[in-house]
């Protein structure tokens, strides 16, 4: 039993964080350069979950949490799942079925989309140009298309769990980003002649952010290990990880804005980017009540 990353995992995690800081700063999330996907691809971030890479889910969880911390494109999630379970190479957009149609997220230059249709994960080709606009989460483009006539289900139920796990990892990263942004600001901003982080009302807001992030991250690690071990409780543990991560991302997103005061709710500052991303993530394979309360 060991729920801490080993040296090799720490090295990968650090390298991921360093790359993200240099090439994909969170501050730029609202207008990501057109070449970013190519860069991600060239660096191997889009292909690392392919079976021949032999990466375990625990390591993936670590790396996706780092990518999530910088609000990396959401199509990395669907692309990673497609790479492992369908052998597809190239960009796979994320599909979110709605009442009548389907939302396609981050579909620019994607040839396929993949998403959860009820309790099956299914993919389908994207043909023709999507007329994409920006979504609530400005790091993500959105198009709405008619429900495809035929979808190709991915037979293995692990595939859906995989998407849920990676999305939880993104949410953990998002919760971390909000916590760190808040703590940094609380050390810097002064009122009443002291840093606002001196005041317990603010300090405790930040501490609660740290608690939520730690709780979610721990459960994420455990859940990833259950998928690696093909544990019979994997579905529960991953659902629990998703629920806790979504909550942490949302609640930390909100608290971060409060810690920033007036500047926090401006377009110009960054806290809203985390909040909006959190809102998006909560709709991607949400934790199902039946999985959480299963006997």
């Amino acid at each position: 039993m060991d729920l801490t990353p080993n040296d090799e995992q720490i090295a990968l995690q650090t390298a991921t964080a360093d790359w993200c800081r240099d090439h994909m700063p969170l501050a730029g999330a609202r207008s990501r350069s057109a070449g970013l996907w190519q860069q991600l691809h060239a660096m191997g971030w889009t292909g690392m979950t392919a079976p021949e890479m032999g990466l375990d889910h625990a390591t993936e969880a670590l790396l996706f949490a780092e990518l999530g911390r910088f609000l990396a494109p959401v199509a990395l999630l669907s692309t990673a799942v497609a790479a492992r379970w369908t052998g597809a190479a190239g960009k796979t957009a994320l599909a979110l079925p709605a009442q009548e149609d389907v939302r396609i997220l981050d579909g620019v230059e994607a040839s396929r989309a993949l998403g959860a249709f009820g309790d099956v994960l299914a993919g389908f080709p994207l043909d023709g140009q999507l007329s994409s606009m920006f979504s609530l989460d400005q790091s993500t483009t959105l198009a709405r298309i008619a429900r495809p006539a035929a979808i190709e289900p991915v037979d293995d139920p692990h595939a859906l769990l995989h998407l849920q796990l990676l999305t939880a990892a993104y949410a953990v990263g998002c919760a971390d980003a909000a916590r760190d942004m808040a703590a940094d600001y609380a050390k810097l901003r002064e009122q009443f002649d002291r840093p606002i982080g001196w005041f317990q009302a603010l300090k405790h807001l930040c501490s609660d952010m740290a608690v939520r992030a730690a709780v979610a991250r721990s459960q994420l690690y455990y859940a990833a290990c259950t998928l690696d071990a093909d544990d019979r409780d994997a579905a529960f543990h991953i659902a629990a990880a998703k629920r806790l991560a979504d909550q942490a991302a949302l609640d930390n997103g909100r608290a971060n804005i409060q810690v920033h005061g007036g500047i926090g709710m401006t377009d110009e500052a960054h806290p809203h980017l985390c909040l909006k991303r959190a809102h998006l993530l909560q709709f991607i394979v949400p934790a199902d009540m039946a999985a959480l309360l299963a006997a």
Binding site: M1, D2, L3, T4, P5, N6, Q9, A58, T59, R179, A183, A186, K187, R194, P195, G197, W198, F199, Q200, K203, H204, C206, S207, D208, A210, V211, A214, V215, A216, S218, Q219, Y221, Y222, A223, A224, C225, T226, D228, A229, D231, F236, H237, A239, A240, R243, L244, A287, M289, L292, L293
Partner: protein
């Protein structure tokens, strides 16, 4: 990262399970400290004789010298077997002993550690005072050096098990006129020494489990100072880190039973059809799972680096509040049956009332939040 256990650890788990299955007392542990003391001592002795006391304590002092993972496995099986709370042995086993292992002299360790493990010596903790609770550095109880003794005067409060204890971890001001964290000493106080008066206090649940302690010219040999005169703050901090750190391992398993029982009960009563109840049960089940994950993460950190990460306070805060949410849910499911609670009964209501201690004892939730903000996030110190 992995959640598997080695074949040796799995065998150890089976041994624990078998022994507990055959040995867990059928009768309930009495609730009041004075009634429970015989039970607590006998049970601790039985654990010791069978080799289950001090699983990761050094063998020189009666422990088993096994790994912290085996200690965790034991505690998991212990809770699963519904084995009784160690009660009056809590202080000695969970923080008195570990503080001595870390800070005490060879002589002190050789005398006290085996007695703690055998359940022969009951310990209590004399830290809090009427004017110094959260503000531990504000203590006033003093020990004046006279020859090779300390002459102790003052009082302590909320001392759990003081009225049944033999020894006390006592923090004193041993340097006259010293301020705050300076000039304090951590000493082993004999609770049977002349000049000590203990006055039990009743809790809102009906039990008398803690007490006021008064010191009137109590003489304590200087040889009982642990970690050196004037180093009391440092030693006390190690005690608190054990108090806030080790207890959660057992809590983790207890809470996983509590949530399963609550879900079963809500199903049986049909209350699970209420969306709000179902949602909070699902929430708490997720949180309980996360507590196990945090515990494993922290234990792994200890194995990897030799010490727990700064997230021990996170676990402490989170489990104490989660425990209270679980107990509130138990009371909610009881409905108006809670009215039938009679002062002192042991049931969901008693647990609920006693459970208020979780966010007060051993450092309040507010103090834990200060620690998290300052040590984990690096925010400026408020105190």
């Amino acid at each position: 990262m992995d959640i598997g256990f080695s074949p040796e650890e799995t065998r150890f788990r089976e041994e624990c399970r078998d022994w507990l299955h055959a040995n867990v007392p059928a009768e309930k542990r009495p609730l009041d400290a004075s009634d429970a003391i015989g039970f607590d001592k006998a049970w601790q002795r039985r654990l010791f004789d069978a080799g289950w006391a001090g699983i990761n304590w050094p063998t020189d002092y009666g422990g088993r010298g096994l790994s912290i993972v085996q200690q965790v496995i034991w505690l998991e099986e212990y809770a699963k077997a519904h084995a009784p709370w160690i009660g009056a042995n809590f202080v000695g086993i969970n923080h008195g002993g570990p503080t001595l292992i870390l800070n005490a002299s060879e002589e002190q360790k050789a005398y006290h550690l085996p007695r703690i493990l055998k359940g022969e010596a009951i310990w209590c903790q004399g830290f809090s005072e009427p004017g110094a609770g959260s503000d531990l550095a504000g203590i006033k109880t003093r020990g004046r050096i006279e020859g090779d003794e300390l002459l102790v005067n003052g009082s302590k409060i909320w001392t759990s098990f003081a009225h049944v204890a033999d020894w006390q971890e006592l923090v004193l001001r041993t340097e006259e006129g010293s301020l705050r964290h300076k000039g304090l000493s951590w000493v082993i106080c004999d609770m049977h020494a002349p000049g000590i008066t203990v006055r039990p206090i009743r809790k809102m649940s009906g039990q008398t489990e803690f007490a006021e302690v008064f010191y009137d010219d109590v003489r304590i040999p200087l040889a009982n100072v642990v970690g050196g005169l004037g180093n009391g703050w440092k030693v006390a901090m190690s005690t608190l880190s054990f108090e806030r750190g080790t207890g959660f391992i057992a809590d983790q398993v207890k809470q996983s039973q509590e949530i399963e029982e609550l879900i079963a009960k809500a199903r049986a009563k049909g209350m699970i059809k209420d969306d709000r109840i179902a949602d909070s049960l699902a929430q708490m089940r997720s949180e309980v799972a996360a507590v196990r994950a945090m515990t494993y993460r922290n234990i792994s950190e200890v194995l990897r680096t030799g010490q727990p990460g700064p997230e021990a306070s996170v676990i402490r805060l989170f489990t104490s509040e989660l425990g209270q949410r679980l107990k509130r849910m138990a009371v909610l499911l009881k409905g108006e049956d809670i009215i039938d609670f009679a002062y002192g009964d042991d049931d969901a209501v008693g647990d609920y009332l006693r459970g208020f201690a979780a966010t007060i004892a051993g450092g309040t939730a507010q103090i834990q939040r200060d620690i998290i903000g300052e040590r984990l996030l690096g925010l400026p110190k408020s105190r």
